[in-house]
Amino acid sequence: MDGHNAGLLAFAAAAAVVPFLLPNDYYLTVLIVSGLYTILAVGLNLLMGYAGQASLGHAAFYGLSAYTTGILTGTHGWPVWAGIAAGLALSTAVAYLIAVPTLKLRGNYLAMGTLGFGIIVYIVFNEATELTGGPSGLTGIPKLNVAGKVFSSDREYYYVVWGAAILLFLLAQNLVRSRMGRALRAIHTSETAASVLGVDTQRYKIFVFVLSAFYAAVGGALYAHYVTFVSPSTFSFGTSVLLVTMVVLGGMASLWGAVLGALFLTFLPEWLRAIENFDILVYGAILIACMMFLPGGLAEGAERLWGAAASLLRRAGAAGRPAGGGSAG
């Protein structure tokens, strides 16, 4: 085990005790939602932060999986596990079909291609009323149940969501720290140089696009069986933009950044509710300020804070040492 896994283990331990420290169940709900966004942001960061390929349509994969399992389990009475499996399969299959032509586009053209795809899917959610329930949404989706065990309480669901988030984080971390992770970062800076070294750039881009869509699909399935209701507005262009913002604000090419970005942008609106009406203004202003003053994102900001705290501790330790050293000697 190395430092990276130790960090994740510490985080998992902290996540495990948090529910016992919360003043009320309201925060549990917010934490579950931020866990879902963590899964999405970590997946999107693999695509954007590491491989440098933009997607402004990730909400579509989130929604495709949520709707698929919602329709199959809610409307057609499939078992939940089968609905989720179908949701993941459909979402990733669509991602593959989209990736092949779309990833030939570059930069802002790729952003537009994925944006267009996201909007098309969003319109289908709205218009295919017989299937999706249209703008008013789809109700009657069952709670998550596995082998007869129903996860009906928020606390149980918290562990399901964060368990999945931590597992997917671990997999992402293993990918990043491998020859594939290096190849993706190489593609980010110079596709030319990467291909000279034997990296099949198009294949790798497709792989990471589909993988990040899979992450979004896991988030979508977990969302559907938590809220038990899905409606198009959850999977709109605004959600795709929010995900990109989480990745960039958290820190490009930083998995911890994705976690921080997801937590921060889920909690911020909740905190701002107190100043109703003005919340949106303050939200916008904080977003702008963060981007202006933390060029490396929240991850780098946290790292700097940590560094400052550590050096402060060291200095305090050094000041205290002569006396302590004397007594030990």
């Binding site: 779309t102 570059r106 319109i123 916008g284 981007m291």
Partner: protein, 294 residues
């Protein structure tokens, strides 16, 4: 109505809405050319143009012929302010950072508009009186003539500005190579300010001419921004002429989609065709397919 006149009708109403997309796209293009930023607040400039004109008229009692230029002027000032306060202080950062900043700006502007103007939908009176004009079975609103006229004048004015004036040429030079431009003695900062002013201006213009036809509200900027972005990508990012053509084309596609397929799917039809066009020409219709330089 015959099939031909119905088709003509779709084209006319599509081109009217598309003109606003085109002006929004022009705004995207100008800022992109000097800064490489995709300005997510562009749609809010369009929204503010329409909303400010409505409120100058209603609250301020400003007559329409004055309210329109006043609204455009205020939005232009907002554009300059946005650059001063949020973009210039962080110049030199990656375009992506600045793009997220413009997302923050768009949230601010939208939120501000909601607080000041409320959540209702408003309409602006048409610029001139008179009933619809019959055009071989299709009808043409007088306001559409205003839209086409103002769009055409804007494009001609822009062409003159870039081709004939020193400042315009300097802006194009910044677009080609910022560093070289600054070495040639061009003040890049002022060019960026100018580009924000220009984008806000054409965006607001697009919003104000369309408001009498489509109604306006504090949240119309999101979709107009998306359409503007789509239009400038379709035309070929960086090409002002392509942006306007892309906008009009997108408007017509949408209108045909609404008329021939279904109104619910009109955007889907437009975007599917747009994606097909992009796969066919990955650098846009009028974009230069730049050869990869190794």
């Amino acid at each position: 109505m015959t099939a031909a006149s119905a088709l003509l009708q779709y084209v006319i109403s599509g081109a009217t809405v598309g003109s606003t997309y085109g002006l929004a796209a022009l705004g995207f293009t100008v800022i992109y050319n000097t800064t490489e930023i995709i300005n997510f607040a562009q749609g809010e400039f369009v929204m503010l143009g329409g909303m400010l004109a409505v409120f100058a008229l209603r609250w301020g009692g400003v007559p329409l012929p004055l309210a329109v230029p006043l609204a455009v002027l205020i939005v232009t000032a907002v554009g300059v302010l946005v650059n001063r306060l949020t973009i210039r202080p962080v110049q030199g950062r990656s375009p992506l950072t600045m793009i997220i900043i413009t997302i923050g700006v768009s949230i601010l502007l939208r939120g501000g508009a909601m607080l000041i103007f409320g959540k209702d939908t408003f309409s602006l009176p048409a610029f001139s009186q008179g009933g619809p004009i019959d055009l071989g079975g299709a009808t043409l609103l007088p306001q559409s003539l205003w839209v086409f006229g103002i769009t055409l004048l804007t494009v001609l004015g822009m062409k003159f500005f870039f081709d004939r004036t020193l400042t315009g040429k300097a802006m194009l030079a910044c677009a080609c190579d910022r560093k070289a431009a600054s070495l040639m003695g061009i003040h890049v900062d002022s060019m960026v300010t100018l580009s924000f002013a220009f984008s806000a201006l054409v965006g607001a213009l697009g919003g104000v001419i369309l408001a009498p036809i489509t109604l306006t509200a504090y949240d119309v900027g999101i979709l107009l921004g998306v359409k503007g972005f789509a239009a400038c990508i379709l035309g070929g990012l960086g090409n002002p002429f392509g942006a306007v053509v892309g906008g009009i084309l997108l408007g017509i596609l949408e209108s045909l989609g609404a008329g021939l397929v279904s109104s619910g799917y009109k955007d889907a039809v437009a975007f599917i065709i747009m994606l097909a066009l992009l796969f066919w020409r990955p650098s846009g219709l009028f974009g230069s397919a730049r050869a990869e330089r190794v």
